[in-house]
């Protein structure tokens, strides 16, 4: 006969085992290289100019990627990790400047200039589109008449 205490021990061990098995999948898996790179791709280290962090071969950048991995493992979000690096090393670690303060200029100036150019072009279209004012004979006979100059030029070239 088995004693009741032995049964308790077996059932208890089985229950603990099942609990452990059930709880094991709920542990987050370690962050994959691709998850690390997805964040690193949007960042630049201050030393290796213009090489994104995900592909930079230097030792320093490998350490940065390790830091991203650690933070991910600790459950940090992408924006928290980026903020952490910005706090440590400044806004230059981000692939594009955060839209605040003077940085707004980087986003506003090109479209504003383009629109101004488009407006100037539109005005030019309208003014050029109007029929030319009739020129007085005196003007067209003058020495600086571009047509005459052009003709003379062409004739000279042929001679």
């Amino acid at each position: 006969m088995h004693s009741p205490s032995k049964w308790f021990a077996i059932v208890g061990a089985a229950l603990i085992g099942l609990t452990l098995m059930a709880s094991a999948p709920s542990q987050p898996p370690p962050p994959s290289d691709d998850e690390v790179n997805a964040i690193a791709h949007q960042m630049y280290c201050p030393v290796c100019e213009n090489v994104p962090l995900d592909v930079c071969p230097t030792e320093a950048c490998a350490q940065w990627r390790a830091t991203i991995r650690e933070k991910l493992a600790e459950g940090w979000s992408e924006s928290q990790i980026k903020d952490y690096f910005v706090e440590q090393y400044g806004a230059r670690v981000l692939a594009s400047p955060p839209a605040r303060g003077l940085n707004w200029l980087v986003y506003i100036l090109p479209p504003a200039t383009f629109l101004a150019g488009a407006y100037i072009l539109f005005r030019a279209f309208r003014s050029w589109g109007r029929p030319a004012e009739p020129q007085t004979p005196a003007e067209s006979d003058s020495k600086v008449d571009p047509y005459v100059a052009r003709l003379e030029e062409e004739l000279r070239r042929r001679s």
Binding site: S32, D33, D34, N37, Q42, Y44, P46, E49, N50, V51, P52, V55, P57, T58, A62, G90, A91, R92, V93, L94, A95, S96, P97, G101, L102, N103, L105, V106, L109, P110, P111, T113, F114, G117, A118, L121, A124, F125, W128, G129, R130, P131, A132, V144, P146, Y147, V148, A149, R150, L151, E153, E154, L155, R156, R157, R158
Partner: protein
Amino acid sequence: MLANLGYFSLVLTFVAALYGAGAAAYGALKRKPVFVESARHAMLLTWPLVTLAAVSIIALLVGRHYEVKYVASVTSDAMPTYLKVTALWGGQAGSLVFWSWLMSAFATAAGLRRWDRDRELLPWVIVVTMVTLAFFISLVVFFENPFQRLWQTLDGVQVSALFQPKGTIPLVPTDGQGLNPLLRHPGMVIHPPMLYLGFVSFVIPYAFGIAALAAGRSDDRWIRITRRWTLVAWLFLSLGLILGGRWAYDVLGWGGYWGWDPVEIAAFMPWLTGTAFLHSVMIQEKRGMLKHWNMLLIILTYSLVIFGTFLTRSGVLSSVHAFAQSAIGPMFFGFIGLTFVVSVSLLINRWGELRGENHLDSIFARESLFLLNNLLFMGILIVCFWGVLFPLISELFTGQKVTVGPPFYERATGPLWIGLMLLMGVAPLSAYGASSGRSLGRNLWKLMALSLVVPVALYSFSGVTLIGALIGYWLIGFVIIVTLVEFWRGALARHRRHAESFPLALWRLAVRNRRRYGGYIIHLGVVLMAIGIIGIEMFQTETQGTLARGESLSLGQYTLTYESLTQFDTADGRNVARAVVQVYRNGKYMGSLYPRRDFYYASQQPMTIPGVRSTLEDDFYVLLVGWEPIAQQGTTFKIYHNPGVNFVWMGGLIFIAATLLAAWPTREYESLRQSTAVRPAIARV
């Protein structure tokens, strides 16, 4: 001795260039042709002089003269001879001499042309080219002397000077530091000279433009003289950019060919204005319009050429402070400002004389569409210019440096590229002069509808659902169809009129209208490149994994199996870690790849060389990211799948070949052009 000779010839060049500029201006203003002729001779003298200096540097580089500072900094015993020669442009001082050498060569070529018809332009062409040359030579003579030798004080401090300073002894290192490892690639042998050729040859059309302004010529003579020059300059610049992309893809190891790096953008900006210029000059030639705009474009192109050299040569990109510390930075800055202000002042001075000879008849006319094209190119230029400049401005005003990286450029320029693609399809169907929206629409709608087959087929058969990609491929299809129809129409007309066989008619059409049909083929090259660009921008996938021997990593249809890794030292000072991986596609063995990591001991610089399996359809691109040196059980690979990337290179080849076709001289074409140019002039009078 050789160093002294080289330096002396540079000093003489500087004097000759200054004299040439001064004598030419004096001769033009005082109407004394003898001074202009003397200036021309001075200009012709500069090329042999700079050649002597350049050859001296090459002789020092190849001859292992490590007592010369420049030689010790860019070469080493381990480097092969061809790299020692190309080290001429591998460092700051040498590249400035190389720039000057090209400038003097082009100035000489311009000086040797027949000037009978355009005598009044000559002095000002001399002034512009010689002032530019004098500026670059002054940088090497006074600030970045490539002939300085190394000396050591009695306290052991190393100094550099041309002649022995007091209290020093000569210092002769046993070996040099060697060229930057990134530059030890066959691509680097060709890429920088191409870019420099492109940069420097744009000085010539600018010189003629300024000469036309200074001499008061309001016609399009300067454009006609420099048309081929401009195309050749553009050809070299395009070739430089494409080769640079290929080099980055092969050597930099980040899976792409264009990273919107400020150095890339520095070369891209003059290309943008140059391309806009090539289009808009056609309007001046055909319709006598846009004279101010063309002048402004060539002035901008010249300024951007100097600005590009400034960006890459002054250290300003690393930091505003590095710029302030470098001697040549402020010099460049002053020169760009001065030439820009003088050029624009000249333009404003002549503004009234450069009025257009025609009016814009319709918003749907080809000239209007060319103006739109120019607006879009200028839009891209502004994005690039501002993106490069902003980090410097931010650093200057807030003390904080920011990165303006690819996401900014891609978002900002994307719609502009789409606009340009659309114009590439629409403009060939429009007509010069009066052109109604209805007639353009009639020409357009069928071809636009036909090209819809492309996105529909991609959606139905390939499952492409990205709306941006579908629009892109639709426009690509549209441009290809329009271009082919243009060829077909032209050839058919010849076939009927001259009773030529269709292939012969097609050939003669292209050969006798080289600029027009060369231009169309360039468009075809561009859209082929666009296929690859959309492929890599929108469909590139990547993954990374750490593998033990025999383990695999999969990406899409591809699987990589890690076989082995070896690590060894090479005779040229590298430690190489080279992996062997096997590649399978849908389970079928495709071959082995050898991604590797080179570590240069002297410069302590690592370099990642990818292993690439390349087909027309796609590239499978493998990088060796890291490894456990002893057990080899944890080797990390990064793999990319780059669909269609080879269309970029194929399109690039077509682009370059077509530019050559467009720029190729032809006597028949010349006579045809001249006779057609006179007819409208007579008709208008």
